[in-house]
């Protein structure tokens, strides 16, 4: 039995509380700033307690402010773009990698290993290192400022394909044989046996990919040039391009809160799958 140490127990909680406080502090300040008027926020020591203007700020942020001096664009629209992009990316990734893993594991066809290695190679080519040429391809295909341009180049996923491949390899052969004995064709087997078995992997991947899709920055920065196609992450960046004085920090901070809430909710509500997804995809 390990000795009990009162001092260390207290210290543990102290350190953890401190850690949580430091981690939460920036977001707390963001929240506070989003509840004040612009004048209150930009005066040097900003108030550290929530103010009374939350409702106005969030409405302005969400629906835009056609009358004011800043004329901020509506974030509601951007949130929709982000949401659609993130959902399309995560669903497309999951279904595409399910299908390819299924094909690689259960069918014999020429170049099977070559294709497998080709998928593997994509791990080594993150968007960041090939932005220029990829942009050219997308521009040539006429996909700038479309949802297709935002999502399609990002839907190939080596990690997800691997994850499903590893998972399919653990499924006993007896199960495949049993399905065949019962007269199930390959697609039937896929639908009735593999899909139900992989739901937890799918949930885990969904969380990771949703966050990945929502938080994309560099790629949307390149392919979207019109305001109606900005995801919310880009929108925030555009709002602060002026100096300190012109930026309506209270609205920017309200937008930042809005941009953080959906992925944070997904992480916290689906914590179990999130942890599983992180651990699985990195193995």
């Amino acid at each position: 039995m390990i000795e009990r140490n009162r001092f260390l127990d207290v210290l543990s909680h102290l350190v953890l509380v401190l850690g949580v406080a430091v981690v939460a502090f920036p977001v707390y300040v963001t929240f506070v700033a989003s509840t004040h008027t612009m004048q209150e926020v930009v005066q040097a020591p900003m108030p550290l307690w929530p103010g009374a203007h939350a409702w106005e700020n969030y409405t302005v942020a969400l629906f835009g402010d056609p009358s004011g001096s800043g004329a901020t664009p509506a974030v509601g629209r951007m949130m929709m773009v982000s949401l659609i992009t993130a959902l399309v990316i995560s669903f497309a990734k999951i279904s595409m990698s399910l299908l390819s893993a299924f094909a690689i594991v259960y069918f014999k066809f020429p170049f099977r290993m070559a294709i497998f290695w080709a998928i593997f190679m994509t791990l080594m080519l993150p968007v960041e290192v090939r932005i220029g040429p990829t942009y050219q391809v997308v521009a040539d295909l006429g996909m700038l400022n479309t949802y297709a341009g935002l999502t399609v180049p990002l839907v190939a996923s080596a990690t997800a394909t691997f994850l499903f491949r590893q998972f399919f390899l653990t499924i006993p052969d007896e199960l495949v044989e049993a399905a065949r004995m019962d007269g199930a064709g390959p697609m039937r087997f896929f639908k009735d046996v593999l899909l139900p078995l992989s739901t937890s992997s799918m949930a885990a991947l969904f969380v990771i990919q949703f966050i990945y899709g929502w938080n994309q920055y560099l790629w949307p920065l390149l392919v979207t040039t019109e305001e109606r196609m900005y995801p919310v992450v880009i929108g925030i960046k555009r709002m602060i391009s002026g100096g300190d004085a012109q930026t309506e920090w209270n609205i920017v901070m309200a937008t930042a809160m809005l941009a953080m809430i959906p992925p944070a909710l997904v992480v916290i509500l689906m914590q179990k799958w999130f942890v599983k997804g992180l651990v699985d995809t990195e193995k």
């Binding site: 543990s12 920036p26 299908l99 960041e128 932005i131 394909t161 944070a264 997904v266 916290i268």
Partner: protein
């Protein structure tokens, strides 16, 4: 065929552009793309002689070292204590993991706001204590700013892995050491830390990759590579040279260099994964 969509996407958006990058890196074209000239390795040579590129390399190295070591250190500390507490581990975990969900660019904006020289809360406090903070003028401060933002975002990830690693260490080992009279400090360094070394090494690679590639949003939002070029990490420079300065050949050559780095890191990572199986 079932695999067709995946292969199509990979070919069109991965291999074709990568080939293009390779091709462009040995060509020189003018700003309008009207004339293309074969220049061999001249672009690479030019990179090698380019002061600002070498500086950017240095910046990236400093940045990723700081991010990796600070991030790993802080989260190891937090994970150790979270593993110790009897009750509430789950609550602390919930409270610590959500920064993972925050977009890098949003994190950059939030930290910029906290540390903005004229209106930021923290910079105000620092100035009150007599510390002259200005991330817009002082490059060290700017570096500190992006490092803090990057570490803040990455703590949750490291924390989760360390916590999982600590919880998988058999309790009997720790108890045996305690019976032999090893105090908590000694137990940590002689048992838990060595057993965590595979996790730590894995996280080191992941954190370096993160600092190299995923922090573009933080840099662009918080400092825009400034002041001057003092926080322009390599990825930022590829973007800037290719899309702002329109130097396609140079940008492509930089892309190729980055590809080589990613490949090296990936190989290291997989070597390690194989080793871990034997562990």
């Amino acid at each position: 065929m079932l695999i067709a969509p995946q292969v199509l996407v990979i070919c069109v958006f991965f291999f074709w552009p990568a080939l293009q990058a390779l091709l462009q890196s040995v060509q020189q074209s003018d700003a309008f793309g009207t004339s293309v000239e074969w220049v061999g390795l001249a672009n690479f040579e030019r990179l090698w002689q380019d002061e600002s590129y070498l500086e950017s390399f240095q910046t990236t190295a400093v940045f990723s070292c700081l991010v990796a070591f600070l991030g790993i250190g802080i989260s190891l500390c937090l994970a150790y204590f979270a593993d110790r507490v009897v009750r509430g581990t789950l609550i602390y975990r919930t409270l610590l993991i959500w920064p993972y969900a925050v977009a890098p660019a949003v994190a950059g904006v939030v930290w910029l706001f906290l540390f903005s020289p004229s209106i930021g809360v923290v910079s105000y406090a620092l100035n009150q204590w007599g510390f002259e903070w200005n991330a817009l003028l002082n490059s060290r401060h700017a570096m500190a700013l992006i490092v803090m933002a990057a570490v803040w975002k990455q703590i949750s990830y490291n924390f989760l892995f360390f916590l999982a690693g600590l919880q998988s260490i058999p309790k009997s080992l720790i108890e045996a050491a305690a019976m032999d009279g090893a105090g908590p400090w000694r137990r940590f360094w002689t048992i838990q830390f060595p057993l965590l070394s595979p996790t730590s090494f894995f996280l080191l690679v992941i954190n370096v990759v993160y600092a190299f590639f995923d922090t573009f949003g933080i840099v662009d939002a918080a400092t825009k590579g400034g002041p001057g070029k003092d926080t322009a990490i390599l990825v930022y420079k590829v973007y800037f040279d290719g899309f702002k300065a329109m130097d396609l050949g140079g940008s492509a050559a930089q892309s190729v260099v980055l590809m080589v780095i990613v490949m090296a890191l990936t190989v290291v990572q997989f070597r390690f994964v194989e080793k871990k199986v034997n562990y």
